[in-house]
C-alpha cells in the first residue's frame, strides 16, 4: 500500500519507536519566541546542559512587542523583561535572533517562510499552536508545549505519538469574494473545534491547488482550530517558485537536488487515510464567526443558528456564548455593529492580505465609528507594503499601517479591544477575552474585514465591492 505525504515525512524522521508509547521524532527546524521559551532555557540551565543544535533554532520576539514606536524601549516592564530574556538566552547559546527593529523581525510564522527557512519535507516545531502554518510547504509542522521546547532545545528531538491521518479535499472553483480564510472557517464550522483532534490533516483538491502560498498558509495556520495536530499541503510548482531565491533556500546544484526530492513528497495514489472528507468549493461563501470558538462560524449572508438546531447537550454552552457576544440565536449577521477592525496576525498578516484589503477600500473611506489596526506580519511585509504604495493607499482611505507583531490577535501588548466592543478580526481565535478582557471577536477574511471597516457593520463584501 502506498504512503501518505504525512507518513513519508514522519517515518523518515523517527529516531526510535517506543512500544505502546510515543515516537522519538527528529526536528529539522525549531522556531522560538519570547513567551514559551524562557522556562525551557531555565530547565536546560538547571540540568547543567546546553542547546544541542543551535544552528537549527531560529528566534524572533513577536507576541509582546508594541506595534507603534518600536524604536523606543518596550514600555511594559514584564514584556520588556521577557524579550530581553530571549535575547540573553539566544546570545548565551549561539542562536540566531531577529530582534526588535531587525529587518527580519516579525511574527515567527511569517518570518520562517519569507526567509526560506521553511522547506518541504522538514519537521518543524515551535512553542506556538499556529506552527501548523508551515505545513503549507509540505512540511510536518506543529505547536508544542514548553516541556517539548526544552526537549527540542536539549536534544533536537521530541516525543510524539503518531497522529491519525485525514485528508480534506476542496474541489471546484471558488466564487467571487471567497478567500482561503473563508475556506478554513467553512471547514471548521463543519467539523467543529474538536473534529480534527487526534489527526494530522492534508488539504488537497483543485481549489487548494489553485491557492497562492500566502493563501495556503492561512488554511494550514487554522488547522489547530479544528483540533488537528497540524495541516499540510503537498509541495508543487507554486511552492518551489515561492521558495526559490529566498535567503536560506538551497542554491545552485543543491536547489536542483532539493526540488527533485521535494517532488517525491506527494501522497501515493493508493495510500489510505483514516478519514477523508470532500467539500464543494462552490458551496463556500464569505464567512464570519458569531460565537466564542472558531467552529461557531456562518456565511456572512446567513443568520446565527437557532437554539433548536443545536444539540441538546451543547445548548448551555451555546447560550453562554451568545450571552457573552450580546447576540441572540437566529439573529441576522449582516448589519451587526462593528467597533474595531484588526487586520494582521500569522493567519492574515502577509503582503497578499494587505493588498487585498487595500484594493477593496480603494476609493472608499473608513467608517468614522470604526477604529482600525492594520498590522503587517513582519518587517519585510511592512517594507514591501511601503514600497508598493499600500501605506499611502491606506492613509488616503483613513487607515494607518502599524508596525509588525502579533498585536491584537492575543492582546499581550497594548493593542487590546475594550470590554464589550465588537471587533472583526482577520486573526484566528474568537475565544472570550482573547483580544482583551471582555472583547467580542468576529473572525473573517481581510476582504470581509474591509467591508466592515468602511461600513461600520458586518457586511458581505460581495455587496459593496467590485470583485
Amino acid at each position: 500500500m502506498g504512503k501518505t505525504l504525512f507518513d513519508k515525512i514522519w517515518d523518515s524522521h523517527v529516531v526510535k519507536t517506543i512500544d505502546d508509547g510515543p515516537n522519538v521524532l527528529y526536528i529539522d527546524r525549531h522556531f522560538i519566541h519570547e513567551v514559551t521559551s524562557p522556562q525551557a532555557f531555565g530547565g536546560i540551565k538547571a540540568r547543567g546542559g546546553k542547546v544541542a543544535r543551535p544552528s537549527q533554532v531560529i528566534a524572533t520576539p513577536d507576541h509582546n512587542i508594541p506595534t507603534v514606536n518600536q524604536h523606543l524601549t518596550i514600555q511594559d516592564e514584564l514584556s520588556r523583561h521577557q524579550v530581553e530574556t530571549l535575547k540573553k538566552n539566544c546570545e548565551e547559546n549561539g542562536i540566531t535572533m531577529y530582534g526588535l527593529n531587525h529587518p527580519y523581525n516579525g511574527i515567527v510564522h511569517v518570518v520562517g517562510p519569507e526567509l526560506g527557512i521553511t522547506q518541504p519535507g522538514m519537521t518543524i516545531v515551535c512553542g506556538d499552536s499556529h506552527t501548523s502554518t508551515h505545513g503549507a510547504f509540505g512540511s510536518i509542522a506543529f505547536g508544542i508545549g514548553t516541556s517539548e521546547v526544552e526537549m527540542a532545545l536539549a536534544t533536537q528531538c521530541i516525543m510524539q505519538p503518531k497522529p491519525k491521518s485525514m485528508r480534506i479535499n476542496i474541489e471546484g472553483e471558488l466564487g467571487k469574494g471567497v478567500t482561503s480564510k473563508d475556506i478554513i472557517l467553512y471547514i471548521i464550522s463543519k467539523l467543529s473545534t474538536g473534529g480534527g483532534t487526534g489527526y494530522f490533516v492534508e488539504f488537497a483538491g483543485s481549489a487548494i491547488r489553485s491557492l497562492s502560498m500566502e493563501a495556503r498558509m492561512t488554511v494550514c495556520n487554522m488547522s489547530i482550530e479544528m483540533g488537528a495536530r497540524g495541516g499540510m499541503i503537498a509541495p508543487d510548482e507554486t511552492t518551489f517558485e515561492y521558495i526559490k531565491g529566498r535567503e536560506q533556500a538551497p542554491k545552485g546544484e543543491a536547489w536542483d537536488k532539493a526540488v527533485a526530492y521535494w517532488k517525491s513528497l506527494v501522497t501515493d495514489a493508493d495510500a489510505k487515510f483514516d478519514k477523508e472528507l470532500t467539500f464543494d468549493g462552490a458551496d463556500i461563501e464569505p464567512m464570519i464567526t458569531y460565537g466564542t470558538n472558531p467552529g461557531m462560524g456562518a456565511k456572512v449572508c446567513e443568520n446565527i443558528p437557532t437554539l433548536e438546531s443545536i444539540e441538546d447537550s451543547s445548548q448551555g454552552s451555546f447560550q453562554k456564548s451568545m450571552e457573552y457576544m450580546g447576540f441572540a440565536a437566529g439573529d441576522k449577521l449582516e448589519g451587526k455593529q462593528v467597533d474595531y477592525v484588526f487586520v494582521g496576525s500569522c493567519t492574515n498578516g502577509r503582503i497578499e492580505d494587505l493588498r487585498a484589503f487595500c484594493e477593496a477600500v480603494k476609493g472608499k473611506q473608513k467608517a468614522e465609528s470604526v477604529t482600525a489596526w492594520i498590522v503587517p506580519g513582519s518587517k519585510q511585509v511592512e517594507k514591501q507594503a511601503i514600497e508598493e504604495g499600500l501605506k499611502e493607499q491606506l492613509e488616503a482611505a483613513g487607515f494607518e499601517l502599524r508596525q509588525p507583531g502579533c498585536s491584537a490577535c492575543l492582546a499581550m501588548n497594548d493593542d487590546k479591544i475594550p470590554a464589550g466592543k465588537y471587533a472583526v478580526a482577520t486573526s484566528n481565535r474568537n475565544f472570550e477575552g482573547r483580544q482583551g478582557p471582555g472583547s467580542r471577536t468576529m473572525l473573517a477574511s481581510p476582504l470581509t474585514a474591509a467591508a466592515a471597516a468602511v461600513t461600520g457593520v458586518v457586511t458581505d463584501p460581495r455587496t459593496i465591492f467590485n470583485l
Binding site: 522519538v24 499552536s129 506552527t131 474538536g194
Partner: protein, 199 residues
Amino acid sequence: MPIDKFVTVQTSFVPMPIENVDTDQIIPARFLKATTKDGFGDNLFYDWRYEKDGSPKADFVLNNPAYSGTVLVAGKNFGSGSSREHAAWAIAGYGFKAVVSSFFADIFRGNSLNNGVLPVQVSEAFLAGLFKAVDADNKAEVKIDLENQTITNVSTGESEGFEINSYKKNCLMNGYDDIDYLLSLSEEIEAYEAQAVKF
C-alpha cells in the same frame, strides 16, 4: 528533573459542566509574561474567577466553598486552543492532580502529562453521571487508579477504564520525565543525523 509521582486519588471534585473550555480561559494571555513556572495557579480561570477589581466572582465554582478536591471535572473538548503549557502549570499550580472530561485537545493532553497532571478521558454517560452525583451531593467523590487505569464514581460505584500509553503511565507512576530519556539517546540521534536527507 523528576515530576511528582501520580498515586491513586480519591477525592471530592470541582465540577465545570462547560464545553470547549479553551486555554485562553484557563490562563488568559496577559498572564503569560513570566519567565518561571511559578504562580500560575493564582491566575487559573482568571476572567471567570475574578471581577475587574480583583474580587472573587461569587458564582464561579472555584469561589464556592461547597466544592473542593484535587480533581477538575469538565465538559467535552477541554483545553482547546493555544499550545501554552502555562495552562497546565496553572492547573497543577492550583493543586489539581487530574482533569476528567469526555474529550481533550491534543496539545493540552500532552502538556498535562508532562507536568504530572493526569487527563482522564471518560464516556459522555460517565461524565454525566459525575455531574449528577455532585449535583445531589457536593462532596461526592471520584477515585482515579492509574495503575489499573480505572475511574470510579464513588457515589454510584460505577467504574470505567481509561486509556494511557504504557510509556507515559510508567513516567507518571515513577515521576520520570521525557528529557532525561531523550538525553540518554544521544548516540541514536547522531546516527539518525548521519543518514538524514541533505542537500
